[in-house]
Amino acid sequence: MKVAVASGKGGTGKTTLAVSLALALAETEKVELLDCDVEEPNVHLFLHPRLVSRESVNKLLPVVDEERCTRCGACVRACEFHALGLLGGSVVVYPQLCHGCGRCGLVCPVEAIADVPQEIGKVEWGTARGLRLGRGILNVGEAAATPIIHALQRGMSSDATIVLDAPPGTGCPTIATLRGADATLLVTEPTPFGLHDLRAAVGVARALGVPVAVIVNRDGVSDRGVESYCRQESLPILLKIPFDREIAASYAAGVPLVDAFPKWKSALLEVFSALVEGLK
């Protein structure tokens, strides 16, 4: 079973719930927690893992051999990402825009383009409190998060229960994360922003065919829009967590919810059983 904790909107409590769910499950089964928010990975701040391994994730960047290059411009025209240009009589590569697809090398008639690996991020594996933890880290200044998420997911064990902490948003990194999941828990807050982004996230999960259940966090602050939307769309709300300064304070200090308030452990285990039940 692979469950992604996602949200659409940022800051709804994905990480604290993913960490808490993984800790609760780890008491009885083999669990791996993957931090797929590679732009801003935060799981380690709550669990302080012991590092076991680290690998680089690279992209293959084209390098042009000035001697061979005839400045024909075939590579510049072929690049779908405008990552190459003819500037002052030579071909320049814009690494930020390059996806590392290699098409420029394929079209070059004089084989003047070679590939050089460039690190765009890392994948780390570690352990903490009976959990195997994986996290991807995008290097600052790099744009492409998905290759790192894919590299991270390749390291998942096939015999473990997997909890994926997803990035916010509904773009490529979220899609890459959800595609690795059997089901997703969408964490939202009952505000117009929360509702709007929940709709977007539900849209993505449905486009990918991943079943959805909802957790409402910071309940009580405001309106009932999220509830009526979930009723309309037949989305189960499996848990509501009230807004509480004490919960906010423990999160702020990096203490997982289930450590600060053990009563939420059984609630999260019930959420997980309901999710498994729902898939049958």
Binding site: G11, H99, R103, A143, H196
Partner: protein, 304 residues
Amino acid sequence: MREILFLSGKGGTGKTSLAAAFAVLSSRKVLADCDVDAANLHLALRAAVREEEEFRGSKEAIRDEALCVGCGRCREVCRFSAIGETLEIDPFLCEGCGACVTACPAGALRLVSRVSGHWLLADTPHGPLSTAELVPGEETSGRLVALVKEKARNLAMQERVETLLMDGSPGIGCPVIASVSGAHAVVLVTEPSVSGLHDLDRALGVVRHFGVSAALVVNKADLNAEWTDRILRFASEHELPVLGTIPYDPEVPRRLIEGRSVVEEEVTPAGEAMKRVFGRCVELWGDVLHPAPMQPERDERRGR
């Protein structure tokens, strides 16, 4: 043109609420929502859509089965594992790079563009808003951000406006990089927590990587005084100017639901703090923000 961008690294720190307050407080500007994955600024400003345009940002490879000779050359060259064992193309993994098109000896592959989102021009009581929405499951947020910005700049030129206020997205990847490039200044909005500081550090890294100046706001500062202190220390160590702190204020979501601003009429505690932050911003980055005079016709505008 002066472009002010709101970023945070971590999501949910209050970027959009602060951007909406700035929209009310500054008089002549164009607004842009660069968080195209989860655009929310229109909700805070009661926007009405005036214009809509299809956005064809992403391409994908399709195969003409009649021409395919089954050689598998496409699969060999694809660096995104988008072509499977039976040579089926996975549209979610396909980056639309066209390497397979180049490699195919039979001319069986081509790239087609698809509608991956919509660009929207909306009117708000506080100026025009360039925003967008992605089609669920589509992936080209960076390019859509670039379009939102380009349209906003054109709009500003038409209306002879000097200031562009842009709400950004969380994270530090492709949409953030697309929004940072060309920005004049970035307002970094964080919250007092271990994640808030960690993510701020990386967001500041990206902003400085692109040589853009930044200043800091700590939102919900009273929720954790210790972490607010740590963040302020971080700011001074990194020579990051502090625009101010904003208290946690349950009126912020309540006003959002009612469609009222926290900086207008009965100004709330967070609203007062946001006005001070705006004032500091004007001091720091000059009068580009055109602070709005206290106009009596504001009620009239609300009625429109």
